[in-house]
């Protein structure tokens, strides 16, 4: 009879073995909070297959548990993501609670999710709490941007970015940080982060008069909607081959799963948001944050799957973009 083992004997773990590496947790400093899979967009690269028809959203009771866990865990950063977090009714409550417990709070935004009144209120709150904003902005041309995010999203995103600049976010000399996050518009690896940031800054400033702090680059995850597209378009084998061939052992040390714990909309814990999409819970079994006294222990193993090759390709990628390997 086959017995489950943890960590599982995955292709990724076998690759680590060949390089004499193990993937284990270091000190956990970031609490990532995924407040749900509801989104006003249905981006073609989304590893969570988030969209308008998804009903999973964090309740206020779970938010209370998350805030209590943030207090117990003494995290240095809280990273609030989705779906579109803006669509979750009690987001203000969560941000305010986390800001009391954690030195830095980061909010990921798709830029399009809110109506004008609600958006103004949320931006005001973020300014008051000094929340760091990370906005999805995959390309500097409308065609590549909308190939990924949908028709009409380019103009709306540019307008929102301008609105954030107008209130001080991402402007030179301001302490309101606005970062952009970009994924390639297809089955290819992203360009280097430094070169991409120079290009984005030059084009957005010259053509649109927009400003931001830093650009975070990510490889597309072979999960969720992007995996379905890879399969349907006949790109899966080549893309996985590309990720596997680009495995960089030097990137392993800086992987986000070593220093981050991800809590899903229902309070279940994962090593990262991608494992959440893959259904690989923290430590190999489903645990609720209420069961945790503090962060996961340093040295504990990390669940892996084939998608992990996307974080170790080339320079490697983490929640803050490219790893400086």
């Amino acid at each position: 009879m086959k017995t489950d083992v943890f960590p599982a004997e995955t292709e990724f773990n076998a690759t680590l073995d060949r390089h004499g590496l193990t993937l284990a947790r270091s000190a956990t400093r970031t609490l990532q909070v995924n407040v749900g899979y509801r989104c006003d967009l249905a981006c073609r690269h989304c590893h969570l297959a988030a969209g308008p028809t998804r009903g999973e959203m964090m309740t206020r009771a779970t938010m209370q548990a998350v805030i209590a866990y943030a207090r117990r865990g003494r995290f240095l950063m809280a990273d609030v993501t989705g779906g579109a977090p803006e669509l979750v009714p009690d987001l203000d409550y969560l941000l305010t609670g986390l800001a009391r417990e954690v030195p830095q709070v980061m909010l990921r935004t798709n830029l399009t999710a809110l109506d004008d009144v609600r958006r103004t209120q949320l931006i005001d709150l973020c300014r008051t709490l000094r929340v760091i904003l990370v906005a999805s902005f995959p390309a500097v041309t409308a065609s590549q941007f909308e190939a990924q995010r949908g028709i009409g999203v380019w103009c709306r995103s540019v307008d929102r970015l301008r609105q954030l600049n107008e209130v001080g976010y991402g402007m030179p000399g301001s302490d309101l940080e606005l970062h952009l996050a970009a994924n390639p518009a297809g089955a290819f690896l992203p360009q280097g982060q430094a070169a991409a940031e120079r290009q984005f800054k030059r084009v957005l400033a010259q053509r649109l008069g927009l400003s931001f702090n830093h650009l975070f680059i990510f490889a597309n995850m072979p999960l969720g909607r992007f995996k379905s597209w890879l399969e349907q378009s006949g790109n899966e084998q080549d893309y996985m081959g590309k990720l596997t061939a680009a495995f960089n052992p030097q990137a392993v040390d800086g992987l986000m799963c070593r220093s981050l714990v991800s809590v899903a909309w229902d309070g279940v814990l994962y090593d990262c948001d991608f494992n959440q999409a893959a259904g690989l819970p923290l430590g190999g079994r489903r645990r609720h944050i209420d069961e945790m006294d503090g962060p996961p222990e340093a040295g504990s193993p990390i669940a892996t799957g084939r998608h992990c090759f996307a974080c170790t390709a080339g320079a490697g990628f983490t929640c803050g973009g490219e790893i400086a390997a």
Partner: protein, 110 residues
């Protein structure tokens, strides 16, 4: 062999060194250096590579430099403009030879 070009041959390109390893080593080292960041960026070099690939009409190079251009941050508008540069030069190169034609006509004609 049912076609002259095989897509998988590109992945096996390194095998060209089997019977001339030192020449291959020098070629691939040079090739790598050429496309590294320098006075021109890697992105600009990939666009030049794409344009030249279309000039020499190498299907391996077209696939490789299309991917390279995307991975270095270029978009389809820039890549298409690069092809028009090639097309303009190739067309212009034909057309400018018309001056030779004209000289010959002038020499032979009353």
């Amino acid at each position: 062999m049912d076609t002259y070009y095989h897509p998988k041959d590109l992945e096996r390109f390194q095998e060209i060194g089997k019977d001339a390893p030192e020449l291959a080593r020098k070629f691939f080292a040079y090739y790598g250096e050429v496309f590294a960041e320098g006075a021109l960026s890697e992105r600009e070099k990939a666009l030049i590579g794409l344009a030249v690939a279309h000039t020499v009409q190498c299907p391996y190079c077209i696939d490789a430099y299309t991917t390279a251009c995307l991975e270095k941050g270029s978009n389809l508008e820039e890549m298409t403009e690069a092809l028009h540069v090639v097309t303009a030069i190739r067309g212009g190169a034909s057309l400018v030879h018309g001056m030779q034609m004209r000289r010959q006509v002038e020499k032979l004609s009353l």
